[in-house]
């Protein structure tokens, strides 16, 4: 599976996550900073709920008419002299991109940040084809230097690292000899990367949104690296997930505003670039050749299903930044490049339940994600839909659980069984009860009592008290 970042089992990854103090401190402080900035940016815009509704409408409409807009996008890119390739699988995408690289005899490739190229493992395909690939987003650059450490956050890929760790990586891999002060680290990376931009043969970018009406692509960054990736190399390839599209510039305006505010709490990021095809004769910079690779890789299987709204995601990571589960286990525990609530929804859809069966359950369904999503994806409801699918369609729930749920149904829909069961609860649990609580519960209660006390059932249930009271006994 292409998104997979670990062969360890889910609970092994979680164990590593909760015991990684560096990572956890970094995540907690980042979450708190970003939550605060997001709320302030939403407040500043005003009528936030109306904007969210508009965002939802735009995404719903676009996805419902995706075939139309993709066709329009493709026609317009071609009209402007660009090439378009529809890749139904990651293999097809990688094959096309490496073919272009070979034709151009590209030795050095510079990339700006792109989750979809992570998803299809483009870097290793290019490296196999003999190219040197340089990530130019600062976070991605750090991870690439650090022996290809996978991203742990869809917007801030190196979120799990602190500045001391970054200093050490620069020192070890690039002979850096200065301090861990962020400005010094960034300046060093900038100097290193500038040379790479100037000598690159091929530039590869992701795509925040493609604009169907003009055949343009847009890139939203804070570092300006995407500007150099698209200005200097002679050939540019832009890779986009097939759902990353808006009908017109008007919708782009709205979604970019929602994206910047939800993602990093900014009105706009430092650079928002719109690019349309290869450069014109009188342009001073830009690629001579432009390719747009539109990647399906499992997305069309989601269309028309109860999970379609997962494709509305604009990759802002607001859900990740409010998630208490992500807060404690970090991005790598999800085992996928897509972490957090949207990752728990999307990863099993793209990668299957076999590898990711725990993810839909790695949520307390607190709905903080659903509340934060700027395009109103009902994330916690989608997690429940996954669970339903695993139980009812895939029939993959554990036998003991099935039995327990059958028993639960019987009891909860039949008052006589329910009443008999709850009446006996107190005496059944009596052997395990000490001073009104249960510290070592039997069987299915054990996981609970491993970390917390369980209350002893009351000898007199509420309904017993009520009955007595009605009869005038109290």
């Amino acid at each position: 599976m292409a998104m997979k970042i670990s062969d360890e089992k889910f609970f092994e990854r979680v164990d590593k996550g909760v015991n990684n103090t560096f990572m956890r401190n970094a995540v907690v402080s980042a979450q708190e900073r970003m939550q605060g900035k997001r709320l302030a940016a939403a407040e500043e815009l005003g009528n936030w709920e109306e904007w969210r509704k508009l965002g939802e409408e735009i995404r719903t409409h676009t996805l419902q008419n995706l075939d139309y807009y993709l066709e329009q996008l493709s026609e317009n890119v071609k009209k402007r002299g660009g090439h378009v390739f529809f890749a139904s699988t990651k293999e097809e995408a990688n094959e096309y991109i490496t073919k272009v690289a070979k034709e151009k005899q590209a030795k050095k490739v510079v990339k700006s940040k792109s989750m979809v190229t992570e998803e299809i493992h483009l870097n290793s395909a290019l490296e196999k084809a003999g190219c040197e690939v340089i990530e130019t987003d600062l976070g991605e650059y750090i991870l690439q230097l650090d022996d290809h450490d996978p991203p742990s956050h869809i917007v801030v890929p190196a979120l799990h690292k602190n500045k001391e760790q970054i200093r050490d990586t620069f020192k070890e891999k690039r002979g850096y000899d200065k301090s861990e002060i962020p400005e010094e680290l960034a300046l060093f990376a900038r100097e290193q990367l500038r040379q790479e931009f100037l000598s690159a043969d091929l530039g590869i970018t992701g795509c925040n949104f493609a604009v169907a009406e003009s055949g343009s692509i847009s890139l939203v960054t804070n570092e300006g690296n995407a500007g150099l990736v698209t200005a200097l190399p002679k050939t540019q390839i832009t890779v986009m997930g097939m759902e990353r599209i808006v009908p017109t510039w008007e919708e782009l305006d709205i979604l970019v505003s929602l994206l910047c505010r939800s993602s990093v709490g900014q009105k706009l990021t430092s650079y928002i670039t719109g690019l349309t095809g290869p450069k014109d004769e009188d342009d001073v910079d830009g690629p001579e050749e432009f390719h747009l690779v539109i990647v399906d890789n499992g997305r069309s299987n989601i269309l028309g299903t109860e999970f379609q709204s997962a494709l509305h995601c604009i990759r802002c990571a607001a859900c990740v930044n409010v998630c208490p589960v992500y807060r404690h286990i970090g991005g790598h525990s999800y085992g996928s490049i897509y972490a957090g609530p949207i990752g728990a929804v999307l990863t099993p859809l793209l990668g299957g339940y076999e590898d990711y069966k725990e993810l839909p359950y790695a949520s307390s369904l607190c709905a903080a994600c659903t509340d934060a999503c700027p395009v109103k994806i009902p994330l916690h409801e989608l997690l429940i839909k996954h669970r339903r699918k695993i139980v009812e369609d895939e029939k993959k729930s554990p036998f003991g659980e099935k039995l327990a749920m059958k028993g639960y149904q019987l009891a909860a829909s039949s008052p006589s069984i329910y009443k008999a069961g709850t009446k006996s609860a107190s005496s059944v649990m009596a052997p395990f009860t000490q001073s009104n609580s249960i510290q070592k519960g039997p069987g299915p209660m054990k996981p609970w009592t491993d970390v917390r006390d369980f209350p002893a059932p009351n000898k007199e249930r509420f309904r017993d008290w009520y009955k007595k009271r009605e009869k005038g006994g109290e």
């Binding site: 609970f11 979680v14 164990d15 909760v18 409010v322 208490p324 589960v325 807060r327 404690h328 286990i329 359950y361 790695a362 949520s363 307390s364 369904l365 607190c366 709905a367 903080a368 659903t370 429940i384 669970r387 339903r388 699918k389 695993i390 139980v391 729930s397 659980e401 749920m405 059958k406 639960y408 149904q409 009891a411 909860a412 829909s413 039949s414 008052p415 329910y418 709850t422 609860a425 609580s437 510290q439 299915p444 996981p447 609970w448 970390v451 917390r452 006390d453 369980f454 209350p455 002893a456 059932p457 009351n458 007199e460 249930r461 509420f462 309904r463 017993d464 008290w465 009520y466 009955k467």
Partner: protein, 247 residues
């Protein structure tokens, strides 16, 4: 007390947790509603809201439970429960019956008349001061389902603000889940443990001697961890606080 309104007939939806483990919460709820001028009845055929099955993906099973609960409360004017999460589940039933219009209609009727206790007091009875008094320094845990699914954000705070002698300290990171999440708490123990520990840490930071909550699930989780760690913090359901009187 409710401005001379006609008598409100309220059916208590006790919730299974309060019925079996926290019967006091039920008693306080009945007494409080009666104090506020309601006539309370208890349809004794009621069981559980179905949430354990629903959230685990067992929707066929949930439907049977939902039908039973819909029947049980069919003749009630209002259904009021001391738990936002369970009431949110009652309001969710309609989604289970997308292809059964008859049941869907009944489910929607139940949804419209179902309220969480503090929501009912503030939004329906229009009362913000229940004349309670309790000398205590407390903090309040706002439950996720109550605030986000049911949308009850201010009612508990308004009522608590008017309790005489009660000092409610703001809880840091109050928006974070306590880590209960029903079956999540037993399926994902290592994660749930971290979440409840952080919650307990924040509660301690307030210096409060009492933790107040409006949902027995959250209180069972946080209280269970507080007990296990031997922390000197008392856990109270909001019904008990609102029904307190110091003479």
């Amino acid at each position: 007390m409710n401005g001379g309104n006609l008598e409100m007939k309220v059916s208590l939806f006790i919730t299974c947790l309060a019925d079996v483990f926290y019967s006091n919460v039920g008693k306080h709820t009945v007494e409080l509603l009666e104090k506020l001028g309601c006539v309370v009845d208890f349809p004794e055929q009621q069981t559980c809201c179905g949430q354990p099955a629903f959230n685990s993906g067992y929707h066929k099973e949930t439907k049977e439970v939902a039908k039973h609960m819909i029947r049980t409360f069919e003749n009630s004017d209002y259904v009021v429960g001391p738990s936002g999460s369970c009431v949110a589940m009652l309001r969710e039933y309609g989604h289970l019956f997308e292809n059964e219009p008859e049941w869907k209609e009944k489910a929607e009727k139940l949804a419209k008349k179902s309220f969480e206790l503090t929501q009912f007091i503030v939004e329906v009875l229009k009362i913000e001061n229940v004349n309670a008094s309790i000398p205590a320094c407390a903090t309040y845990h706002k439950s996720c389902h109550m605030t986000r699914l049911l949308g009850v954000k201010n009612a508990p705070g308004k009522l608590l603000d008017n309790v005489e002698g009660l000092d409610v300290k703001p809880l840091p990171n109050s928006h974070d889940c306590c880590g209960f999440g029903g079956t999540f708490s037993v399926k994902m123990v290592p994660i749930s443990e971290q979440m409840v520990d952080e919650k307990v840490k924040h509660i301690e930071e307030t210096g409060a001697e009492v933790l107040i909550g409006a949902d027995c699930g959250c209180l069972m989780n946080i209280g269970g961890r507080i007990n296990r760690k031997g922390k000197p913090i008392k856990v109270m359901h909001i019904a008990e606080v609102l029904n307190s009187e110091v003479k």
